[in-house]
Amino acid sequence: MDAPSPRPYTGHRIERHDRLGAPWTTSSQDADVAGTRTYRFNALGFRGPDYRPDAAFKVFVFGESDAFGLGVDFEEVWTTRVARGEAKRRGFSPEETCVMNFAEGGASNASIARMVVTQCAAVRPDLVLVNFAQHRRTEAYAEGVAFPVGPWHDDRLAERTVQEARRAGGLRDRLEDQLGRARAFLRFCDEEQGLFQSARDVLLVQSTLGALELEGIAIARDPERYRDPEALSDPALGPLLRLIDEKFFALEVSPLKLVDEVDWREDGNHVGPVTHAAIAERVARCLEPRKAHRTHEGAPMDDTQAVAEITESVRSFYTDLPFNFHGTVDAAVDAIQRPTVKTQYPDLHEHLKRLAKRRTDGDGSLDISVLEVGCGAGWFSHGLAHHYAVEVDAIDLTPAALERARELAPIVGTEGRVRFRECNVFEFHSPKRYDLIVSLGVLHHTGDARRAFERVARHLAPGGRIYLGLYHGPGRRVFLDEMQRIANEEGEEAAFERYRRLDRVHADDETLARSWFRDQVLHPHETQHTLAEVCEWLDASDLDLVSTSINRFGRIGERSALFEEEQGYEGRSRRALFDENRYFPGFFTVFAARRD
């Protein structure tokens, strides 16, 4: 029995149909008429070397002219570069690798989806790379040929082509029919409709790879369109866009923003080798932490509504009284100036010290960028800027907390080095990559801690670190159950008094103590986690565990030993609360570094 082979070319280019069965080359293609490049087509009618059924590592490429590589040599195309790099990383030699490029200039997302479905059904590749097309294109079907339709059909060139064909005879009728239909499509499909249709095509590719359990990653020239706030809030379009799995479709990659100056080709519409190399480098970086986008879990659930309701309730809760809120500005300033990081988070302190030393030993111009997610009234962000001279971007949901945070900056002397922004973690996006991301006691109040983690972890710079503080499942329950028991049996004030006796650190300032009590005991929403669970998050985001409070910031050896130690966390909590009358809210920290 013959080994399965991809299907031959079924696009609209007559020369590619006519020459099926044997490789051939040409020096011009579509808008590239410079004649300086070589386009080699294989026996199946696609660009690149022939298909090799015995290759150990098969990569299939789908897309439009950027994936086809118009204006650049085959080895320079971003898709080829990524395929070669991935093969090398996985231990395959070039001889063991087969890159099949099914892309075509002018392709629509409809045709890309058709190609993915049919080619991946014929042969299962090991990796799929997709470059989605711009909107307002489609694939039209006429007389056994699928031809691309797009905005170019509205220009005079298209008209002239038909006129020339009319003079020459032959193809006239077909071209006239195609032009008429293309223009009708463009009257039907405006930009909004284009995105509506593209979303479905993207999801068809995503779900097909999911159903086939294939690894894949996709990019597009205009990823911003897929997370445009107006589109996301549209009741028909928004829910579709939210089903796009960003582990598959790397919306954070904006191909045209990766280089200072895009090296446009002669036609002014296609990018050159420098930009292709930058895209390849960026995609490779995205691909590694994605750990094989095995989409068999399908698209993420659209729990936007539930999460939005939680977000609103949390915002409202903190609007009444933000967390860690001092009675006076002076008290807040005093707290910032105390070396709390050193005493409470020694592992983080050591890391910041090392970074500071590197800066001192270097040229002094090394900026250390930090992101704090859920900064509240700014205590931690200001503290980092004050003690370690770092630059901090800080986000939080609650305007009331941010107001206090901003008020403190000129007093503490961190103005200009700490920037506060009102933002929901699920909507956070920044082109910036951070050396350190901190989120203490925040993600467990978001409604989906894992998704929130994945969203922020994406913003780590190469070699960057993330510091998390979360409620611990068994460790937390002891404290929470006891507090809720008192609140139910004796009332909220009795619970507050018990809390104050335990938490001696915040007890003297009535406002501060209440803000802590509310946060720790009365919160409208929290989830609880374990180190074992968070280690899964780390693995999925390609992060290594560096230290944790579970073993009191000790050496990290075998994970199984840590998980075993974690079993004792409930006992530690019980002893602290009942035997030692000590505050132990069941909080644990995790410090992790990006693998690079």
Partner: protein
Amino acid sequence: MTTPRPQPYTGHRLDRQRRVGERWSERPGRVEVWRSGAEDDVYYHYNELGFRGPSFHPNAKWTAFVFGESDAFGADVRFDEIWAVRAAREVARRRGLRPDEICIQNFADEGASNAHIARMVLTQCGRVRPDLVLVNFAPEYRVEGLAGGETFAAGPWVASDEVEKAVEDADGDDALRARMRERLERGRAFLEFTDKRQSLLDDARDMLLVQNTLASWRIDAVAVARHLKALTRQRTTEDAILGPLIAQLDPRFLVRFRPTKLRWTNDWSPDGLHYGPQTHAAVAQRVVQHLEAHLSHTCRPTGDEASQRTLEPAARYANAKRA
């Protein structure tokens, strides 16, 4: 934690959009004509989310979602007579569930296109994972348009003079008429663009989107299509473009029988487009039989790894669910 619930109606019917949040009923005027002696026989009762049928029941032990066009909506038949509702109830009964333990949500809409049906399947199952999905795919030449954040349905009917007149005579202000006019023009442009083969190409993609999404989510599903013949005729399956795409439609998902073949004599509504309760019952019976066979198939042992590598998605669909 808030209990997930389906998304409210976002289809093309303004009355259903405007009344989301309340329960209401309408009695289509034409039904009493063909249902002899039963003038007030059929009502369409809408739930708070804007869909036909009872309210969503978040605590139900078993949930079935129905998607489709007028056949699944149940044009001119009672809710309990709709083939998909009958089939879902029967499947639940065979699983030992009482009627009060199950929830059937009917998201179907008259005049829906396969694009709309696919959108509904994705977004509703993306919010709440049902135990069973029943789909009635729409015929060719239809599309769902989006204009200014509102959807509209376009199909062969937009070419008719009646629609033209309806736009001219529409109650409301000039702005509304202008909006309707723009949608009509866009709908007509779509009809100018599409033809039989184009329509099949677009349909195949939407049907695969439904199939592959449900497969990747491991949701049991079955679908019927009135235009099955057009999809499966030799000329189509041998076509270089359409054939390989349509081959990916799993016969376990898309049932290979045509509902119209089961039509009882004279069991049509007066518009000549929709079939009656006897035909719905016959379709339900066939679907249940298919589901039984399908479910028993999923209990078979999986193939070896070598055969898995060469399986077409059609077969993978079943294998994914088996896993």
